[in-house]
């Protein structure tokens, strides 16, 4: 599982960071950083929650 964020859509509101702070971080420069692009299967449900809750539908999961 690889996390893909469309940075043209992302508006740095940090919803994903609240769900998975170990994977997503919005820093003081107001940009979103992906801390772990390829989390393990154990993180899948949290990442799926991020995909669903992102107000901009900016996050997707690539299976490769």
């Amino acid at each position: 599982m690889r996390i893909v964020v469309d940075f043209d859509l992302c508006e740095s509101n940090a919803v994903c960071m609240q769900i998975a702070p170990d994977i997503f971080e919005v820093r003081d420069d107001d940009f979103l950083y992906i801390l772990n692009e390829t989390p393990g299967e154990g993180d899948r449900s949290r990442v799926e929650e991020c995909v669903q809750r992102c107000p901009k539908q900016a996050i997707s999961i690539a299976e490769d």
Partner: protein, 400 residues
């Protein structure tokens, strides 16, 4: 305990309704799912209507929340341009505006809210409200005609965003607010004043503590008369004075309606009937308070919760920390929690002068909310503390 429904009908094809439908499929429900919506459009996102779409930066298609292929793939049937006019819980039938009746088994009520209007302005063109895509395109067309003067009635979040977008288009804007300080009931006087200053700095003529007496024009709007007797010339007027939940179609259904459909803590309104989004009122056990929330995140999450509740009565209470954002000029304002105008407010990071800060709110020893101006990270961190029912002192001591 009642059985899970065989088929589920969702009335209201917008954010809450679509999230309910998608959640049903995610949870593995394989019976028929039908979305009934009064608008002719497939579900679309409303926040861009006062921002990117109104600004002319986005074409309306970009606000779409789904497309026919996606719905087909998920096996979600949609009936658009169809309004439900009555609900009969005994026969489990809906009446549609066409006169047709349709049976349902499980039901999600997601009919949202509509704008309050100013009485007496119905026949005057150039007077707008902003709720739907059609409203947005009508207002955008009036903005594109380069009016001399735009008057925004109400300095709430929608009014504020419309004012910001109109200024971004180079239009002259006067904003009229009945309260002495905009948003003071929500944010308190000090933070409301910060919002007021942001508008003034961007050239908005903000008039506070004054009401609108009368909007006049001969066919087309010409003038707004204020309660202090002054008048403002206007080519376009946008009225942003709050919303009313769409519950009239439930009159006589036996469902309890009190500024929204009254639900229990898990969003259940009656046997196999749930409600979600702007139309739903429910006791949020995290705050020990009954609330109706008019935010994007709530509609999406509550829609999903209401769907799960139909499938499994033991799903438990819906206990979110309400959260929303508002984009005005280059500021991203976010508020999480349940704050009141008289809560204690403390700036915890950043600088109010630079309009880049976070402030937390407290009442009775507990943190009740957090307001951020371009501080999303802090808002989300304090939101987690609110969720954990942290004390105000703990929150003040926290470092992020």
């Amino acid at each position: 305990m009642t059985q899970a429904p065989r088929a589920i009908t969702i009335v209201g094809a917008s954010l809450a309704g679509l999230n309910a439908a998608e959640a049903l499929r995610r949870e593995g429900f394989d019976g028929p799912v039908t979305l009934i919506g009064a608008e002719s459009h497939l579900p679309y996102d409303r926040p861009p209507l006062s921002k990117q779409v109104l600004a002319g930066d986005w074409e309306p298609e970009r606000a779409a929340l789904t497309d026919p292929e996606e719905l087909e793939e998920d096996g979600i049937e949609s009936r658009l341009g169809v309004r439900a006019t009555a609900l009969d819980l005994n026969t489990r039938q809906l009446t549609l505006h066409t006169g047709e009746t349709v049976e349902f088994d499980g039901l999600v009520i997601a009919t949202g809210a509509r704008c309050r209007t100013m009485p007496g302005t119905e026949g005057i063109s150039g007077v707008h409200v902003l709720r739907s895509l059609d409203d947005c395109l009508a207002l955008r067309a009036d903005f594109e005609a380069m009016p001399q003067r735009v008057v925004v009635v109400g300095a709430g979040f929608i009014g504020a965003e419309v004012a910001a977008t109109a200024r971004g288009r180079g239009l002259d804007v006067t904003m009229v607010e009945a309260l002495p300080t905009p948003l003071s009931r929500v944010l308190g006087d000090a933070m409301g004043e910060v919002c007021a200053e942001v508008h003034r700095d961007h050239g908005v003529d903000l008039r506070t503590a004054v009401g609108v007496e009368h909007i006049a024009g001969d066919g087309r709007v010409e003038r707004v008369t204020l309660s202090d007797g002054s008048t403002i010339d206007a080519d376009v007027v946008v009225v942003g004075i709050g919303v009313i939940p769409n519950t009239e179609w439930l009159d006589g259904s036996g469902l309890e309606v009190d500024d929204g459909v009254v639900c229990d803590a898990s969003c259940l309104a009656a046997d196999r009937v749930t409600a979600a989004g702007d139309v739903a009122r429910w006791p949020n056990e995290l705050f020990g308070e009954t609330m109706r929330v008019e935010h994007w995140d709530n509609a999406a999450q509550q829609g999903a919760h209401a769907a799960r509740c139909l499938l499994d009565a033991a799903v438990g209470p819906f206990t979110p920390v309400p959260w929303f954002w508002s984009d005005q000029y280059d500021r991203k304002i976010q508020l999480a929690g349940r704050v009141r105008g008289d809560d204690e407010v403390r700036v915890v990071t950043g600088s109010v002068e630079e309009r880049r800060f976070a402030a937390i709110y407290g009442r009775a020893g507990r943190i009740t909310g957090v307001l951020g101006f371009n501080r999303p990270r802090h808002v989300m961190r304090y939101r987690a503390l609110i969720e954990q029912r942290a004390s105000f002192d703990e929150a003040l001591a926290a470092e992020f």
